[in-house]
Structures are given as structure tokens and as C-alpha cells.
Symmetry: C2
Subunit: 448 residues, 2 copies
């Protein structure tokens, strides 16, 4: 492949010897981008999720050279991934090219590469495109699925963290109905039309609600030999109740909405095996053609790169200013950080990630500008939202609690507002209105 | 994998022994769908492109049992594939689930399977989901890329025939710019930013125009180390001119529009090698990071399945009623057929495919209804269209010839009109308006 060949050449070409010295820090280090940018302090940000992107934007007015590295060319709006997985939205509707987002921020450089490690002694990040020296490093590499030591379950029970995960799960759900249509015996059909979702957090609840809607509404009249509305959608939660982050009353209302939509909600159920045949849940075998994992996440390997202390989910222990103990020029933010505020852990949600990004961006800007130190990171909790199907949601903002259609409208407006780009907002709004009116889903493609 | 296992079981389960006899034809044959449908004559249609879908629809009112088999779950609107390949549209915008299209046609069964062969003696189609007996068989399996005996070029120079092809080419184009941004030497950069399109028919012309627009407009300000508008887009045509199907004046006007858009149009150039480094074109080495093949198509292997006579492009020689010599219950339509009308070959375009599908559907319906025979197939030429960039097209309808913006508006309306489904029409119209106003493209995803 031509590209692979070029990449190789790049790596070989980028040795310390032929790079100009980094004037700002006085070190001689290998630099990715020679000349021009090297006269300014370089801030390397790894990960263009909510946290990393916000950090880059917060540095827009600072005299720095930002290099934002991501292994994907797009920022993905993760809260709506389940809608790609359930055929409502197309991948591009919730993804936006990182370059395009930062087009007008002339101090920001975007680099498509995968990071393999960090050399804290040499202040260098190792990437698939060579080494990059930094003055400040911000790690915002997010989290991935956590199978609690059973990584072998991943194949049987995929999780939902990227666009690729979403299209894979979409294909899997749609293929199950196709195979059921061709199956001759009832037992096989029933197995293929059983969908188990492991984990009763917002993702699990939203997936279960959306799959129920696909089966009961969207596909209802499309098959001749099966009745998709007879599908079993089973939501398994190990804890005593689903949506533990919400007040009990709201979560209870959500469970009733799920059950009305045809989801079998089971709590206090421990999954001990995931395989091709289904799951073993608290001793009971559930034969299922599709198992989706929404039970837990683990931080990216940033802690390993840094050789830093971390919690059991791999999140890096950070100081009150989100820096890493021992390196006041390295910050960890978003789902990769084990941050806390007022004695409670900062949750792994998009608003928290954005707040951390903005805070660290400002902190670095202030330090470079020689300004007085900024106080510790403060997390502001704006509340929580979850949705079930096409017109039900629960919302908690401070003391305000909403359920039903009003909450769903609020949920819709908030999500459209936070999408990046006018085009995506228009297309997503259109898709939801269309889905609301017709029960149809516009992205029923099997292509992986 | 659970699904693979089930598919296997299906194949094993479908033996001739346990299937009921086909009452209509009096034969004992393995049937996919036992009971119910077997009291009616079964029409098996292979391929849900323009031709196959139209044949199924034309049989909507007939007392037949239709089985429409396709290896994909969606019908793809091929004329707009190049817009997926160049990041204007999302795959789902030009694809529609086949089941959904035929939802209300109760005599039609849709089956997701791949056909491997036909047994003309037993009147049976072999598929990955077992054998299926037919009373009438319609083969509408389309065409694929033709490398004129150099199938090994496919990897270096992919063609554009499916959604998967389109997303692969999209990733390739976008990755080239990303790699150029990271490249250190000018020569590598120049190679990565050179795009060669082989073949000057409508697909090649439309791809070249769209890539030029991506480079010169969409990406213009997104990079820091390269200037995407310096990209070379080279269109190579072996014949004396591009768009040979159009009158010389119209084609000449299109060439001027291509050149104004920044495409280097070279005619009379024979490509003799395609490899990772680029192409060898009439003895000249052109170093190119991306080569796209639009130089020719070859029919699907229907002729092999039938053991039928075919032309050098693999298209099955058919009778004037599109049946296969020797089998008056087997028809070949669309790009797989070498049909002719008034002494001239019927072209491989969507309107011709639809006309053939409609004709064969009506013919079978008439025969089953015991009506008088229908006359031979007549092709009606509605004209031809091609577009370059975001506001130029050429149109020829009978004696009417249009170029420029008026032609582009006409082209847009025609394509939106023929898309399936209100949602797709709205989304595509929106995408084009947005692209027209902003030069941006909404689907810049690298994901394969």
C-alpha cells in the first residue's frame, strides 16, 4: 500500500538528529513540524473528544503552537452513538472532521496518528508518525469497554464507543432479523430475535429502548415469515436498579416506560459468561443472537504511558489542577482522569469532559502569559438526561425533574444544540421529526 | 459467530427430501418457503438494483409468489455513488432497505443471500441460504469493474459500484491529504496529492470534478503544511474524447468545465500498468497516491451460471423478449443483458434497466394470466446527463441540449425525483443546498 509505505518513510525520517532545536524550552528534540511553530511553546493534546477539543479551543487566543493528535479524522458526538447503532442516524450526522472544527484557529495543527507512549524525561510523545516534543501535554484519550477481566467477551458482546462499533452493532441487529426470517425452526428464530443488553446505565437503557422500537415499529410489516414485534429485548443490570445516577423516582418512571415499550428489565442479575450462544445471567442461560455490552468502561492506557498511579478502572490520579503528580506540565482530562470535586468523583460524562478541557486550556494559557495561578478545578453539575424510544425521556437539572414528552423535547433540543455544525443539526432534527412521524429509520444499512 | 452457525444449519436443513412438492409446476423440488406461497407460480428475481426492483413491482398485481434475492439488504442508487465517494452524501442517503420498499407488496418475499448458480434442468437457484425452485427466473445481477484481464490492478485502482467501494474510496482520498500533511519531502507530498481517474465516461468525469472541488474548495483552509488546492487531478481516457455517449459539442463544453475546475484531461492515453506507485499511461509514469478505476464494467457471472452465450463483457445474449435462448422461463435484464433495440445495443444505464425490469414483469404477468403474447422489448432513450462540480452539468434529451447552471438544476431535480423515499429526497436536497452555499461536505469520514 502506498500510504503505509509513506508512513514508514515518515517515521524513519523523523529522528532527533535532523530536527531543529526547540528554542522555547532550550532542548534539542525531534520535532514533527520544523520551523515556524517551534518559536512558540508547544501544547500537545492527545484525543479530540469533548475534553481535548475544548482544551484546544480554550487556547485559541494564546501564543502557543497546539498539536492536536487523534487516531480518527473526526470528532464523534458519543451521546448519540446509540442512534447510529439503531439505524436512526448516519455516522456522518454525529461526526465532524477535526480539521474542519479548528479550521479558523490558526495556532492549531491537527495530526492523524496513533499515540503509543510518552517519554516524561525527554518531554516527547511517541506516535505512529514519529516523535513529537511538547512543552505542555494534555492527555484526553477517553475510555473504552471494560469486560472486568473477560476481554474474550468482546467478540460476542460488542460495546459502543466509536462510529465503527455503532455500524457493527447496527449490522448485527439487522442481520439477526434477516437470519430469523430464513430460519426454519422456532427455537432458532427465537434465539435470533433475542437481544440482551448488559448494563443498565444511560447507554444500556437507550439502546434497549431503541431496539424495542426498531422491532415493534420500524420492522413490523417488513417480514413475511417472522413477526419482529415478538422479539425479546432483555436489559440486565447487576445493581439493584437501572439508571443509578438518577433519583429513584425518575429511574422508576424510566423502567415503566421501558416496560411499556416491551423491554424486559431485570436487576440484580450478574452476567458470568458471554459467548456465541448468549449469556449466563445469575445461573440462567439466555439464548440470544445479539448481546450488547454497556456495563462498564475502562480508561485508555494513558496511565501506562505515564507510569502514573491509577484507579481500578485505569483512570489516572490527578492533582486538583488536573496535572499528573510529578509533572506540572502534563495534564489528564475527561474519562481518562480520576478527578474529584468536593470529595466526590467527577462523573464520566460529556459536560464534565468539556469543563476539564476548558479549565486546562485556560490554566496553560495563564501560565504561559505569566498570570497568577488559577484555582483548582471545580466541577459544575448541570444534571442528567436519558431517553427511551421516540418520545420519552427523564431529565434532572438541580431540583427540576421532568419525565415524558416534555423531557424528550428538552432532551432533543439539548442534543441538537450541542452537535457541531449547522448541517448536522439540520439533518439530525429532520431525521428525528421523520422518525417521529413515520416510525421509520433512515439508516438501515448492513455493511459490516 | 452465532450468525454463521445459523446460516450453516439453514443450508444443511434445506434438502430436497423435507420440502413439499411444488404444486404449480408438478415438480418435487426443494423450496425455501414451505406451504402458503407454493400454490402460486414462483418468480425468483436475483438482484434488487433498478432492473430487479422494477420487475418485482410490475408483478404487484399478479397472482404470483415473488422471491427477490439480493446479497445486500439495500437497494443502492448507483448514479449518486460518486457523491458518497467524495464525502457529499452519507451511504444511507442513497440506499434504502429492499424490504422497506416492498413492504406493502404482499406477494413479494425478500431474501438476503448470495446466489452461486442456477440449475436449468431442475429449475432451481443455488444460494448461500439453500436451493430455491422457480417457475420463472429473472437475473438482474448487474455489473462490476472490468480491468481487461488485469484483475490484479483492483487493489491499486478500486472501482465504484457499491456503497462499500464508495466509503473505501472516500477514506482513500481523505487519507491521502492527511498523509501529505505529515510528509516531509515535496516529492512525496506531490505524489500523495495526485489523483488519477482512469476512464472518461460519466462516472470518471463526475469523480474528477468532485475531487477537484474537494481539493480546491472544501479542504482549502483545513491544512497547515500543504495547500490542498495544489492537488493534481488527472483524468485519463483511452479514446479520442471523454463522454463519448454525448454529442461532441456537449462533451467539449464539459471538458472546458472540467479544466476550469482544475482537472487535467488527457485523451488517447492507454493505461498499461496500475500499481502502488501510480500508473503507466502511454509510456509515461504518473506517480499518484490515489488511482480510481472508471474505465469499464463487466457483467456479473450470470452467463456462467446459465452456461449461456455472452459477449466479451460477459453480458448474456438474450432473445427479443429478454429471455435466454433455450429457456423461455428465464430472463436476463439490466447491465447483465446484451440486449439490442433497432439494431443498436441497449446502453447500461438506469433508465434502460428499469424499462427492462418493467417489461419482463409485465410479460410474466401476462403469460400467467393467459393473455396474448406481448411484443418484443422496446427501449426508449430518454437522453443522458452528466455533472461536473456543484453547478455545472450537460443534458441531452432528444434534440434538446443544455449546459451550465440550467442543466445542473435539471440534473438535480431528476436525481432527487428518482431517489426512493421522502426522507432521502429531503436529506439529499438539503446536502446539496448546503454544499452549494458553503462548499462544505457533510460526510468527511475516514472509517475504512
Amino acid at each position: 500500500m502506498a500510504l503505509a509505505q509513506h508512513a514508514l518513510r515518515l517515521e524513519q525520517g523523523r529522528s532527533a538528529a535532523d530536527a531543529p532545536p526547540d528554542r522555547a524550552s532550550g532542548r534539542s528534540a525531534p520535532t514533527l513540524f520544523p520551523a515556524a511553530t517551534t518559536t512558540r511553546r508547544r501544547v500537545v493534546i492527545v484525543g479530540a473528544g469533548f475534553a481535548g477539543l475544548e482544551a484546544a479551543k480554550a487556547l485559541a487566543g494564546s501564543p502557543v503552537a497546539i498539536v492536536l493528535i487523534d487516531q480518527k479524522n473526526h470528532h464523534c458526538f458519543q451521546p448519540l452513538l446509540y442512534q447510529v447503532a439503531t439505524a436512526s442516524l448516519s455516522p456522518a450526522d454525529i461526526a465532524w472532521p477535526i480539521r474542519s472544527i479548528l479550521r479558523n484557529q490558526r495556532n492549531a495543527d491537527v495530526m492523524l496518528a496513533r499515540v503509543n507512549g510518552v517519554d516524561r524525561d525527554r518531554n516527547v510523545v511517541m506516535t505512529t508518525a514519529g516523535e513529537i516534543a511538547y512543552d505542555y501535554l494534555v492527555l484526553a484519550t477517553g475510555a473504552t469497554h471494560h469486560y472486568f477481566g473477560h476481554q474474550e467477551w468482546e467478540k460476542a458482546a460488542p460495546g459502543l464507543k466509536s462510529i465503527e462499533d455503532a455500524t457493527r452493532i447496527r449490522s448485527r441487529i439487522l442481520k439477526s432479523f434477516e437470519a430469523a426470517e430464513l430460519a426454519r425452526d422456532l427455537q432458532t428464530q427465537r434465539c435470533l430475535m433475542t437481544f440482551v443488553i448488559v448494563g443498565g446505565g444511560p447507554t444500556g437503557v437507550e439502546m434497549a429502548g431503541a431496539i424495542a422500537e426498531v422491532a415493534r415499529q420500524t420492522l413490523r410489516r417488513d417480514f413475511r415469515h417472522i413477526d419482529p414485534s415478538e422479539a425479546s429485548i432483555i436489559l440486565l443490570e447487576a445493581g439493584p436498579r437501572v439508571l443509578a445516577a438518577f433519583p429513584e423516582k425518575l429511574a422508576g418512571s424510566a423502567v415503566r416506560a421501558l416496560e411499556a415499550a416491551g423491554v424486559d428489565v431485570r436487576t440484580g442479575v450478574q452476567v458470568t459468561t458471554c459467548d456465541e450462544a448468549g449469556v449466563l445471567a445469575s445461573g440462567e442461560r439466555i439464548a440470544a443472537g445479539t448481546v450488547i455490552w454497556a456495563a462498564g468502561v475502562k480508561a485508555s492506557p494513558a496511565a501506562e504511558w505515564l507510569g502514573a498511579a491509577h484507579d481500578r478502572n485505569g483512570r489516572v490520579a490527578v492533582n486538583v489542577d488536573l496535572s499528573v503528580p510529578g509533572s506540572d506540565n502534563i495534564f489528564v482530562i475527561g474519562d481518562t482522569a480520576a478527578a474529584s470535586f468536593e470529595g466526590r468523583p467527577v462523573p464520566g460524562v460529556a459536560p464534565a469532559a468539556k469543563q476539564m478541557g476548558r479549565y486546562v486550556g485556560r490554566l496553560i494559557g495563564a501560565r504561559i502569559g505569566g498570570n497568577a495561578a488559577i484555582g483548582p478545578f471545580r466541577y459544575r453539575d448541570y444534571g442528567a438526561l436519558a431517553t427511551i424510544g421516540r418520545r420519552y425521556a427523564i431529565v434532572k437539572i438541580g431540583r427540576l425533574e421532568l419525565t415524558g414528552l416534555a423531557a424528550w423535547l428538552f432532551w432533543s433540543v439539548v442534543h441538537i444544540y450541542y452537535l457541531i455544525g449547522a448541517r448536522n443539526r439540520a439533518v439530525v432534527a429532520l431525521a428525528w421529526i421523520w422518525n417521529y412521524l413515520t416510525f421509520q429509520r433512515g439508516a438501515r444499512l448492513i455493511n459490516s
